[in-house]
Amino acid sequence: MNIHEFQAKEIFRQHGIPVPPGEVATTAEQAEKIAAKLGTKVVVKAQVHAGGRGKAGGVKLAATPAEAKEAASKILGMQIKGLTVARVLVTPAEEIEHEAYVGAIVDRASGTVVLMASPEGGIDIEEVAAKTPELIFKEHVDPRYGLLPHQASRLAHKLYPGDPGRARQAADIIRKLYASMVDAGASLIEINPLITTPSGELQAIDAKVNIDDNELSRREEIAALRDIESEAPAEVEARSKGLTYIKLEGNVGCCVNGAGLAMATMDLVKHYGGEPANFLDIGGSSSPEKVVTALRIIMADPAVKSILFNIFGGITRCDDVANGIVEASKGIELKVPITIRLTGTNEQQAVRILEGAGFSAMTDMDEAVRKAVELAGN
């Protein structure tokens, strides 16, 4: 789960990481008031789950409250990578002497959290890694002991060599950043940039935190940070019913059991000249109700011209899926053709149920995908 910059900064603040003051506005008038209260030159920043906000025009400087109002009126309602900006953060425009990067991620290969720091801040860290990998310093955190103080100190001294004052501040921030990660259940946490002000103080002026979805059930206060309005409604509905749905650009709607098979099915659609309209995993033990929901979500996408069911019955019973399809077809008008492939557990009963309701079913995956692509007019 992504959270917004202002929410991430609040987590930082709670852990004692120096963050500039600032408030969130949903109207231009509110932005003006916040700027007046801050009494200084401000930055108005779009709060959306997308990178590259600055390049898209979603971050603007404002010298006066009136300018802040104008900036906010331009940014609010703007589309950034398909997302509508509903909120802006109004925060003092800091004077910047230097920009660094400090972050932590779960490193899959080593099975550790890796803390990273670079004196090349303010740009995408992937870019730094590609161009000047020698400017990224790393510390692996042994999960048995957590971050040890000397590791934070070592990283800080590499970041600010010959500058013990800033290194001391940075070591403190790095320790608090790691604590924030653990407390919030984050899989990624970044300060980019970590700036040095003219008086030599370090401040986190941007913040990125990705929460591990598996943490949400035990962290109510973090789960409450989810911004449902910033997500596609169909994806929200799917999640609430225990399905995983991701909308794509094509016209062949896909309904599959299992994530790996769902991806392989999308790939096959493409292989046979079509484009998948979505990823949809109905999960392991799928009840007829889940199938009804899945079908409704796919049908609600106006781009869909043909629907493909691909079910490999193991735990999932093919007859459950067949009952779901029949039930759904009673409640909603089927405007597009449906191609059904199922094989495995209770395959024979499923075929009988479907044929009894006027559907036909096949057992070969490639044959079914080809047909679904053809029916979509590709």
């Binding site: 550790t112 992937e126 042994d142 899989s187 098979l261 769902a262 990823f279 392991g284 193991g314 495995g344």
Partner: protein, 291 residues
């Protein structure tokens, strides 16, 4: 022969009285798996299916029934602890089916299991099956046959699809291992490749990967350097968009890292043939084995 588990493996099922645990324990018994015991804290002294003794702790299951492997079906909130309990009790093979364990917990858990000298398969996986010998997990028994092909995969139903295609074409399996769809897992591709390389029954290996991480790329280089047996690859997710989690917690392209194209190219650069479609796997296996 087979890898990791065979007809001599004595299994303890953690969470045997739960909805999933009881259903799959019955299926495992039906397949012929030796289930020595079950564990559900608070239900010690009862019996599962009228015959399998249930204990409160894994330690008792090991001491009294000689369990050597564990299969875990407990809910996500208790699963990391269940894995550690199994490792601490001297179980040498731990298969965790449960999905939804936080990744920060898994960092500690995988380290703990390794420190106890145990092997973890999963979590968030279908488990493993050594056809004709033992089933530890949820892979349907009716789609496998004993034979010379080792199968290792990050997915569940996609594995069934490929295994079923192999079986239909007359290629039985030595063992099929689902290593799991999470970002941090116990046993990885390389561990399984090395085990299949050592297993006299295995003549060829099928590796099914997907987007996210670099486990496939590392496996590709390892195959060229260390494996003598042929390996056939498949990678799911060519059409997956970047930055989206495709069902599995670990199936995500981060920035430009972990794409299917990158993985397929790395396999091919290292001499591993990659199937375009799942249905193409048996033909490539056949070619590699000259049969």
């Amino acid at each position: 022969m087979a890898i990791f588990a065979d007809s001599s493996t004595r299994v303890v099922v953690q969470g045997i009285t739960g909805r999933d645990g009881s259903f799959h324990s019955a299926q495992m018994l039906e397949y012929g798996t030796k289930i020595a015991a079950g564990v559900t804290p608070g239900k010690g002294g009862q019996k599962f299916d009228g015959k399998v003794p249930i204990f409160d702790t894994v330690e008792e299951a090991v001491r009294k029934e000689g369990a050597t492997a564990s299969v875990i079906y407990v809910p996500a909130a208790f699963a990391a602890s269940a894995i550690c309990e199994a490792a601490d009790s001297g179980v040498k093979l731990i298969v965790c089916i449960t999905e939804g364990i936080p990744v920060l917990d898994m960092l500690r858990t995988t380290r703990y299991v390794a420190d106890q000298g145990a092997r973890l398969i999963g979590p968030n996986c279908p488990g493993m099956i050594s056809p004709g010998q033992a089933k530890l997990g949820i892979i349907p028994g009716q789609i496998v046959e004993p034979g010379p092909i080792g199968v290792v995969s990050r997915s569940g139903t996609l594995t069934y699809e490929v295994v079923w295609a192999l079986t239909r074409e007359g290629f039985g399996q030595s063992s099929c291992i689902g290593i799991g769809g999470d970002p941090v897992i116990g046993t990885n591709f390389i561990d399984c490749l090395d085990a299949f390389e050592q297993d006299p029954q295995t003549e060829a290996i099928v590796l099914i990967g997907e987007i996210g991480g670099a486990d496939e790329q590392n496996a590709a280089r390892h195959i060229r350097e260390h494996l003598s047996k042929p390996v056939v690859g498949f990678v799911a997710g060519r059409t997956a968009p970047p930055g989206r989690r495709m069902g599995h917690a670990g199936a995500i392209i981060s920035g430009s890292q972990g794409t299917a194209a990158e993985k397929i190219a790395t396999f091919r650069d290292n001499g591993v043939e990659v199937a375009e479609r799942p249905v193409d796997v048996p033909a490539i296996v056949s070619k590699e084995l000259n049969v």
